[in-house]
Subunit: 690 residues, 2 copies
């Protein structure tokens, strides 16, 4: 499982609860159910400590403080980009792993940011009142402007108090609630420890989302303030014996996106248009990247991180597609929809929700009409290149910063700019040859989908082939240099207008049409849907009560469950793996080849050591790196994946088969103590001597 799964439509919803289902907000955790089912009493101090110990990694993962000096436990796959960005042809940190000799040796992850949620504030009345004042077509814009104003005021107040915060507007329950989430943000994140990819992702893509597994998918980061390790007095302890079958466990983290209560019309857009499009696109890109990787060791090294994320996405979307093609699921969702619609029809106080489903269906028709051009231009699928990504941000930032804050596109508000600046400033490597592969591919496919006679295609390609044009763009651009980017960023509109960089020129060339498509989607799809979804959400509260959890939104959530086997095609899948089978499964050829250190260590390890295990918790991409804690609040597992059935968790929770996959602390202990022998970290983590 990769970090946060991006989805083309982010819709927060609510669901009715069964079994260990739900990614609950901390203010609304179903303690009663947990006490009844598992005999564990969840207290406010327990929740507070956990909340203050959980870290959101802005690249799309979770982590947790595990020492008083800013040490963060997360997944190897959450630091993979950091390892790749710091590697060179001579020193491949992804393959070799990284162990800082001491704190001075800890390695900066450029562009990484870590956030801790310190406070939340319900702003539902203010946002809904603002939306109610405008027509549906303007609802999306009004919501955005209102949230931007609230965020700015929140940040200004915090700065005045001398404790700066990053404030983010959060939409829960499809607009049933609006909140401000207030984060303390760390902009200096460094890597202390990461094992070799071969053990962290043992089994590679074939084993991804599978179980049984034997992955040491762990890494240790440290957050710094003012050049020193941050003080984190509130943090979690690791219980090095870890969890055993039947133990109740809790996962705190930042699940990215679920779509459990999209209407059927919205789900069908995903089924018919969005998923098939991305699957075909990513499958071809995978093929190109794999074949490109075979051209040289350096090609393989530089493409690996991106290829891994593509492969992960393909696996996810493939199972999502299967889920949505299951007509039994569609029928169930249609029945739920009919039931709620009947209740709405029978209740005069819910009159505003009556047309909501039809409104959404109509908006989805518009969405379907426009999705393909939208995705190539505004979705930038036609310009798959890091340099284009920089160029678009520079072009738009220049235009947007010339406007009043509340009128800007959401990603260029004052609150959002620090993150943008950090991304532009970071000296992350750009690999020109890889850029050409990606860009040529996307230009060629854009021409296929929009047609060679589409005005944008003609304007972008002229009489050149995709290869020629990609060569010209990537070869002629200086945007790989952070200093060049920052000059353009700081120089604003004048600097961007004066730039002769061909990629900047490209971004300028397509911007008007891209923005036009974005506006259509905002005004004719998102706006009407937002109003309709809010009406449905309120109807759902009225009909079913408020014991509901919202869809995942990459904000802090808590799920409960237990270590538990499941039955696959009539066979019980044991819930815990041990080191013995890791060695039995080693072939010597990637992705089943063990690093030398692990081959050497075999004789001195206890092969009954627990490796990975599964639990019934409800999680999704973005939960990677989440601490899994026991009733005492101590870490007894490190979440890194779900089983194959967890993928359909995007749409529903399969109680029987959906499982979370975690690294067992015993595995981490033998790794740190007996294989890598990183004594100072072992001491800081309070691992008992052997």
């Amino acid at each position: 499982m990769t970090r946060l799964l991006t989805a083309s439509l982010l819709v927060a919803t609510a669901a009715i609860v069964a079994a260990d289902e739900g990614m609950w907000t901390f203010d609304h955790f179903p303690g009663g159910i947990v006490q009844e089912k598992y005999g564990v009493r969840i207290t406010d101090p327990w929740l507070d400590r956990l909340r203050q110990s959980v870290v959101r990694l802005e690249t799309g993962c979770t982590g947790s403080f595990v020492s008083a000096e800013g040490l963060v436990l997360t997944n190897h796959h959450c630091v993979n980009t950091c390892l790749a960005d710091n590697s060179t042809a001579e020193r491949d940190l992804v393959a070799d792993g990284f162990m800082a000799a001491n704190r001075d040796g800890e390695m900066r992850c450029q562009g990484s940011q870590a956030s801790v949620l310190v406070d939340t504030e319900d702003v539902t009345p203010r946002v809904t009142a603002a939306i109610a004042r405008v027509a549906p077509a303007e609802a999306a814009t009004m919501r955005n402007q209102t949230l931007t104003r609230l965020e700015s005021a929140c940040e200004e107040a915090a700065t005045k108090r001398g404790a700066p915060l990053s404030c983010e507007g959060v939409t829960l329950y499809q607009g049933g609630e609006y909140w401000l989430y207030k984060y303390k943000r760390y902009g200096d994140v460094r890597l202390a420890f990461a094992p070799e990819q071969a053990i962290a992702a043992f089994g590679g893509d074939p084993d991804n989302f599978q179980f049984p597994r034997w992955c040491l998918d762990m890494a240790l980061l440290r957050v710094y303030e003012n050049g020193k390790p941050a003080a984190t007095p509130t943090h979690l302890n690791v219980n090095w014996n870890g969890a055993a079958e039947g133990d109740p466990v809790f996962v705190a983290g930042h699940p990215g996106t679920t779509q459990r209560l999209m209407t059927v019309a919205q789900l069908k857009t995903q089924r018919d248009l969005v998923l098939p499009f991305w699957l075909i696109r990513y499958a071809e890109l995978r093929g190109r990247l794999i074949q490109y990787s075979k051209s040289s060791d350096e090609a393989e090294r530089t493409a690996m991180d991106y290829l891994g994320s593509i492969e992960n996405t393909i696996k996810v979307r493939r199972v999502q597609q299967l889920s949505l093609l299951d007509d039994r699921m569609t029928a169930q969702r249609e029945a739920e929809e009919q039931k709620l619609r009947a209740a709405v029809a029978a209740d005069p106080s819910l009159a505003s929700a009556r047309d909501a489903w039809d409104t959404i269906a109509k908006a989805e028709q518009r969405n379907r009409d426009i999705h393909i051009p939208w995705v190539w231009l505004e979705g930038a699928a036609g310009f798959n290149s890091d340099l284009f990504f920089y160029a678009r941000q520079l072009v738009r930032a220049a235009d947007e910063r010339a406007r009043p804050n509340a009128e800007r596109l959401r990603e260029y508000t004052e609150g959002a700019l620090p993150r943008l600046r950090a991304a532009l400033e970071a000296a992350t490597p750009v690999y020109p040859e890889l850029e050409r592969v990606k860009l040529s591919f996307s230009l060629e496919r854009m021409r296929e989908y929009l047609g060679p006679d589409h005005p944008i295609v003609r304007a972008v390609l002229g009489t050149k082939s995709p290869d020629e044009r990609a060569e010209e763009l990537i070869g002629g651009s200086d945007l790989a240099d952070p200093a060049v980017r920052m000059r353009l960023f700081d120089g604003g509109r004048a600097a961007v207008a004066a730039s002769s960089d061909p990629v900047i020129a490209l971004a300028r060339q397509v911007d008007a049409e891209s923005r036009r498509l974005r506006t259509i989607v905002e005004n004719e799809v998102e706006g009407p849907e937002r109003v309709a979804q809010q009406a449905i959400a309120q109807a759902r509260f009225k009909v079913y009560g408020t014991d509901l959890y919202p869809d995942a939104t990459f904000t802090l959530r808590l799920s409960y469950g237990a270590v538990q086997a499941w039955v696959e095609s009539g066979t019980r899948v044991e819930p815990v793996t041990r080191l013995d089978r890791l060695y039995e499964r080693t072939t010597g050829a990637p992705p089943f080849a063990l690093p030398m250190r692990w081959l050497d260590a075999r004789e001195r390890l206890d092969l009954s050591t627990r490796a990975n295990f599964v639990t019934t918790n409800d999680i999704v991409g973005g939960n990677s790196g989440s601490p899994m804690v026991n009733a005492a609040g101590d870490i007894v597992g490190l979440v890194f994946d779900g089983n194959i059935h967890s993928i359909s968790g995007s749409y529903w929770f399969d109680t029987e088969k959906n499982r979370t996959v975690a690294v067992h602390p015993q595995f981490m202990r033998v790794a740190l103590q007996q294989v890598y022998r990183v004594e100072p970290l072992a001491r800081e983590l309070r691992i008992p001597a052997r």
Copy 2:
């Protein structure tokens, strides 16, 4: 559009007629409708002459005799493999085209065969009686054995008469009818003329299945007998002025596969399982091949033909998937099904059909369970390699030929062996580097889908990576040599058993499990479905009468229609293109670069010459190269494609938008006479002097 579209499930069905719909058998052509609608009286002599002039190219295309000396007009894309097989690094016939200086210079297309339908015989009573004697699980086997016996008797009788024929069992109307089709077969097919690919497929994959178009997708073959041009006194004339808007036109050819009256359960297997699988698979393969093609000119040249077929298939399956995801279509098909079921329920004489739909739905469930392993092993998706293809045929031919003819797998009966022998004997080039790319890809994906712990995956890969194993297999095999293949073929079981060729060993290694899966599909899916489909077909005849056309089965059909525009998003698409826009559209970069000959010729050509045009005829892949004739029976167009809406013709006929795309004779005339100046062929084709 490529030649015949292969589909994993071949099911013949019948449909109710509207508009210009239908791919009719010659014995059942709706002359009355045509006379009424177009005022054209179709006579038996007209039909006979056409039937005798139409040629089936066994590689999946159609052609027609256009002179008394065996000259065959077909598409360039139907001879693309012949051009590629005869090319070398020094002489690229695909790029340069081919023009025989004289008859001696005509170039053999290795392995190509051409067939003319000389007679047909209805054998329905014998086949249905045989099937009725066995249980449903044995129905598929019994049908196969019965058809094999009938074919053998037919061929023996023809040989005794001194006029050998190739007899093929044909299933029409989902088993409503069984026929023997008797062909005169030509095993010596040579190429006389083909233009450069750049003009034959101008616009390449982006323009494939699009219109307007400007493709000179023509080629001229000649069939030989005893080393001399075959005498073909019955042939077609070309009307060099060609068709004009509104003209009634008729297309005779061999449409490959349609699935217009599959049950909803069968369609959903296509929608949910078959199409998503192939789309993802081919999209990745496309990416690998494109990237591989960039590695050298020779890689590009040797991969181009295969890549083109993959790209064509992707486009077809993508639109097929969109068609099946259109719930309106599903609803319409469900309604039709319900209507027929209601009629069956009300008619005691149709009692045998009552459970037919449920039987099929149950069989489809079994099909779904087993499809993935089936497709990797028996479908050979895991062994994507020409050498494996040879190896499997050699291994199986050896085993099957040791059995009585009627008990063999259908592709190894005495009737089928000549075609197999021709394929094994043909000195078609094998490109080892391309083989490794394809085989490594398929081994890697088989491991992903079946899992690294699947017994076959472990047996096939051992501890090696897919790249290592592909290298070992392709590098170690001698099967690229036709002499080696023929020694194994002629040597039978002993020779195959004694072979140490690693690809032969691989084919032996997976054969038991592959056959096991095949048997399950035959006995538990195809058998019960065949019986049920036959019952449905008979019910359909009873309820709707017999004015129905069968689904396409790569057998001779005739469709009617007219040259006609259509309306796309509110805009009329003109039905005929001219040369002027071909030149306007040229960019200089492939696939929009014109060959030098055409650039040079520009000044001397009449740019109002008609290039391509569209008609309302109902066709499908396999019709490529079909003659389009007028009321007089003269050729007024050369079918080479359909528009994008024609792809959903697999499932239904869209009267408003489905269009056939053809090359206009005026285009062929200027090409032969003014651009290529092939005087002897122009004379043989009776092109009037300018």
